[in-house]
């Protein structure tokens, strides 16, 4: 651990925040690095979209990152960067948009003009516009529904949680709204929400002070419009458990996400306490967490089961939490990866030829019951200590590369912190079991939640009936698995199958009608 502390101290020494011309600057100088990374962040995101133009900020950022700039065409920009293996891209979140630029230090002088042009002089040409918008239209029309049922259920859950507010819509907008976005809209949005009054400059790697000063001076030339960030809408409180089932043609399983509003974020010291409880219950992609053990490891129901107390991007791809997606309006959630549907079980096992529904109802009951038990009973001392120790090391893996380190530092500022990971280390050490159990009771409840299930058309109606009637949902194992299950597992199954969920509303939606 000695080295880790040394690293943290070094980091603090090289870290500066400079207020210059109202511009926030986050620096991370690493003279041994072979590259320079810029992260230019604007406090806008999809909540800055006009009410009648969802997807406009995303379109604007895409045009800046995937279009010509400074009179140089997009194709020529790609050609210039190719021999350097340099790159840049935009990442739009709900509340921020971040442009990340990376270049080998050998080519920083040649690369810098491209950085400047992309930010200050995007061409916004008609040719780029038609290409970029076709892609965005395609995403909202097709890709979001067809690529991953897991992500689909996650976005659909957000659509329920934030219904009616500015956090509701997909970053890319809706099928109807994207069609209405014009090039003039994009030009106006650029001036309005990519300004020198809502920008944070992040720089890491092997850069000179002269370069930093040049960048600061150039960013001061961004549109000088007065800027007041939009206030993110809060997640809605469900009336009981409200379920939306999305019926899809030829789905192979039932993908489930469920969640409820959460009143704290990384800004709050209490977040560390809830983080310990959440890690024990459902640490992302960890086989020793409770949900994973119960649903996957013991019962063979799916590929994994996890829980979250903040937004987690691209969970299917990321093993560790990525930076760059900070939010001040939050919710907690449970991710149950696709479970079997009745039509599949019927064809796979003769002994299950008569099942009416698959495993979704049982899996949902099991996950919510585990939270219910934790809220009632709290964490044990042993689990608390093991999880606290785990997080003490694990969170140090979040920021390893220069780009990751810079991203986490910039997120720290969003939450009103200086170096969140270093501060979290201290908070975790100080957290007591009593604080954890108090946070669990204060922030988690299972009576009022939203649930989204993406499933096959054949499964939707029987599942909806089972849910709204709170019908018993006995686990339908194959004989191969059932024969070896210990008695205590089967006894617990009986309790789970009859566990009462406070379901008050179940709606079946056709896949084509989602996200409208």
């Amino acid at each position: 651990m000695r080295h880790l502390f040394k690293q943290l101290i070094t980091l603090l020494i090289v870290l500066f925040t400079i207020q210059a011309q109202a511009m926030n600057v986050v620096e991370l100088k690493q003279e041994n690095s072979n590259k320079v990374v810029f992260k230019i962040r604007f406090e806008n995101g999809s909540i800055a979209d006009p009410a009648d133009k969802p997807g406009l900020t995303y379109a604007t950022a895409s045009m800046m990152a995937q279009g010509g700039a400074g009179g140089v065409s997009y194709a020529d920009i790609q050609d210039k960067m190719h021999p350097w293996a340099a790159s840049y891209f935009a990442a739009v979140g709900k509340q921020v948009t971040t442009f990340t630029f990376q270049v080998p230090v050998d080519f920083i002088d040649e690369f810098y003009p491209l950085v400047k042009s992309a930010l200050l002089a995007p061409d916004f040409s008609e040719k780029d516009f038609t290409r970029v918008m076709k892609e965005q239209q395609n995403y909202v029309d097709q890709v979001v529904r067809a690529s991953s049922d897991e992500d689909y259920s996650k976005y659909a859950l957000e659509h329920q949680l934030f219904r009616g507010g500015n956090m509701q819509h997909l970053l890319q907008g809706t099928s109807a709204s994207v069609k209405t976005i014009s090039l003039d809209d994009i030009k106006a949005q650029y001036k309005k929400v990519f300004t020198n009054n809502n920008v944070t400059l992040g720089i890491a790697g092997n850069y000179s002070d002269a370069l930093l000063n040049r960048l600061k001076a150039d960013l001061a030339k961004l549109p000088d419009m007065p800027y007041t960030p939009a206030v993110p809408s809060k997640a809605r409180q469900a009336d009981g458990i409200e379920v939306e089932i999305i019926a899809k043609e030829n789905a192979f399983g039932s993908a489930i996400f469920t969640g409820a509003p959460l009143g704290i974020t990384r800004s709050d010291d209490e977040f560390a306490a809830l983080m310990i409880a959440n890690s024990w219950m459902g640490e992302h992609r960890k086989s020793y967490s409770r949900l994973y053990q119960k649903i996957r490891q013991t019962r063979s129901m799916n590929y994994g089961d996890y829980s979250y107390i903040e937004w987690y991007s691209a969970g299917g791809l990321n093993q560790l939490p990525p930076s760059g997606v900070p939010r001040s309006s939050s919710y907690w959630s449970i991710w149950i990866r696709p479970v079997q549907i009745a039509s599949q079980l019927q064809t796979q096992y003769p002994e299950l030829a008569d099942v009416n529904i698959g495993h979704a109802h049982f899996a949902l009951r099991m996950a919510i019951r585990e939270f219910d038990l934790l809220i009632k009973n709290g964490m044990s001392k042993q689990d608390f200590l093991a999880t606290k120790t785990f997080l003490g090391s694990y969170t140090k893996l979040y920021a390893q590369s220069p780009a990751q380190q810079l991203g986490w530092l910039m997120d720290s500022r969003f939450y009103g912190r200086t170096d969140y990971l270093a501060e979290l280390d201290v908070l975790l050490k100080k957290t007591t079991l009593e604080q954890v159990n108090k946070a669990i009771k204060k922030h988690w409840q299972t009576d009022n939640m939203f649930v989204t299930i993406v499933t096959d058309e054949s499964e939707a109606k029987p599942l909806a009936d089972s849910l709204i009637n709170n019908s018993p949902s006995p686990m339908s194992y194959s004989n191969l698995v059932k024969s070896g299950l210990p008695a205590e597992v089967l006894a617990e199954d009986d309790e789970v199958a009859n566990f009462h969920l406070n379901i008050k509303k179940v709606t079946v939606v056709n896949s084509a009608d989602t996200f409208d």
Partner: protein, 455 residues
């Protein structure tokens, strides 16, 4: 290249100061693409132990690469077994039950997981380098003494089915399965790493075979232990000897059937209107080699002809906007595999036109020299692209794992990049003619039509 050389010098300084009694690295790093020396040490039982010290205070990446993958699934009815076995490796031993293994793993605070490809199964964890001995203890125990009940075996099969179920949502996964079984009739590359669904459903019945599988492949001669980060080769080698020294060498070698030469273009189609129309062209390509020019020349070719700086991309994606995405490249593998060009369409009606444009680009690269300056820019991109990507212990270890799976030797990475330097315009022309043959082509399509439009 200045930066890479500078970094290499720093890497050497780190070694010199930290390990006065270390064995010599297998290469001096100064003129290599990897700017850090690679220390290799083979135990008497055949286990290869690789250490790459890297300036990551307090952190180390610990990888174990077993050179068994879907390629080795030569018997009928057991496709997907190498991947399934990856799952079983988390099911415990006599010393560490699955619960105890989980608790011990949690105590390391590491990010740990595993994955399987056609050619290998890789287990990896990145965490506190102070926990290196515990990592060795945990990993050696399960590699040498894995023991699971028949019930646990049957139960884990459900998780594999769950993995297939989540993947199946993507039509691209579905066409990938169809493309493999169309392009290959005999070689085991005909099935994906996940395996056929019927075999996955039947996995719970294969308990006895699983024990045979472990006995055959989880042996030191199939395995490399790789540690990158805040470590020394002396420490890693000593721990390897202590924890893996008694592992018994095996004797099994699977005979992978050779794919006969393809004699005509093959077609496969998936009717699915949920995504934009798509097609791929897969030519039979070479096996990976770090001594022949073929694969490096194909990598250079794929960048010049199919990347987002290619003429084809500029015309079809940027100018005409008939294509959403185009890309292509050869798949690195132990046996000859596919060079695949993939295209996502804006309008399915344009498929024949886009196909003809790709055919024209291929005809051109077969007959005309690629531009000399473009060739140099492409080589520069390959080198700097690599240098930009190796900034954590995990990313270095993942890069080296790739080459360990292919040849068993992490030095292949340095040899490959040395070969890139030697690729000439003639080499590019040669591999275009050698591998882009219509008789060796498989075309796969996705659209809402009942039949593929390109047949």
């Amino acid at each position: 290249m200045k930066t890479i050389i500078k970094s290499a010098a720093m890497g050497l300084m780190l070694i010199a100061s930290g390990s006065a009694f270390s064995a010599d690295p297998t290469t001096a790093a100064s003129d290599k693409i990897l700017p850090y020396p690679i220390y290799q040490h083979k135990l008497a039982n055949g286990l290869n132990v690789v250490t790459v010290p890297f300036d990551s205070p307090g952190l180390a990446a610990f990888h174990i690469i077993t050179r068994v993958g879907a390629r080795n699934e030569v018997e009928p009815g057991v496709t997907g077994f190498a991947h399934f076995f990856e799952h079983m490796m988390f099911r415990g031993t006599e010393k560490y039950s699955k619960e105890a293994y989980g608790a011990a793993l949690k105590s390391t605070g590491a990010a740990a997981n595993a994955n399987t490809t056609q050619d290998r199964t890789a287990y990896h964890m990145t965490g506190n380098s102070d926990k290196l001995e515990l990592m060795f203890d945990l990993e050696s125990d399960r590699f040498m003494n894995l023991k699971y009940s028949e019930h646990d075996f049957k139960t884990e099969a459900g998780a594999v089915k769950g993995e297939y179920t989540k993947n199946f949502a993507s039509p691209y996964s579905q066409i990938n399965e169809k493309r493999s079984e169309t392009a290959f009739t005999t070689h085991t590359y005909s099935h994906t790493t996940m395996g056929y669904f019927a075999d996955i459903v039947d996995m719970p019945n294969q308990y006895e075979y699983s024990k045979l599988f472990f006995d055959r492949y989880y042996r030191p001669e199939y395995t490399t232990v790789l540690v990158v980060g805040d470590v020394t080769p002396e420490k890693v080698n000593a721990l390897a000897k202590k924890y893996f020294g008694t592992w018994q060498r095996g004797s099994y070698e699977s005979v992978v059937p050779v794919e006969p030469e393809q004699t005509e273009t093959r077609y496969v189609h998936l009717q699915n209107g949920s995504i934009p129309a798509y097609f791929s062209m897969s030519f039979k390509g070479p096996a990976f080699s770090d001594s022949k020019i073929d694969m490096p020349a194909l990598d250079v070719l794929s960048s010049i002809v199919f990347s987002n700086t290619s003429d084809l991309y500029k015309k079809l994606v940027i100018e005409e906007q008939k294509v959403r995405f185009i890309g292509g490249g050869a798949y690195d593998s132990r046996d000859p595999n596919l060079f695949t060009i993939q295209v996502s369409m804006v309008d399915k009606e344009d498929m024949p036109y886009v196909l003809s444009e790709i055919e024209k680009a291929i005809a051109k690269v077969k007959t005309e020299d690629v531009d000399a300056a473009l060739l140099e820019r492409t080589k520069s991109n390959l080198k700097y692209g690599f240098a930009m990507g190796i900034d954590t212990p995990g990313s270095i270890a993942t890069s080296l794992s790739h080459y360990i799976q292919l040849t068993g030797d992490p030095e292949s990475i340095n040899r490959l990049y040395a070969l890139y330097d030697k690729v000439t315009a003639d080499d590019v022309k040669m591999v275009a003619n050698q591998y882009f043959k219509a008789d060796h082509l498989t075309i796969a399509t996705i659209s809402d039509d009942e039949l593929g439009a390109l047949q």
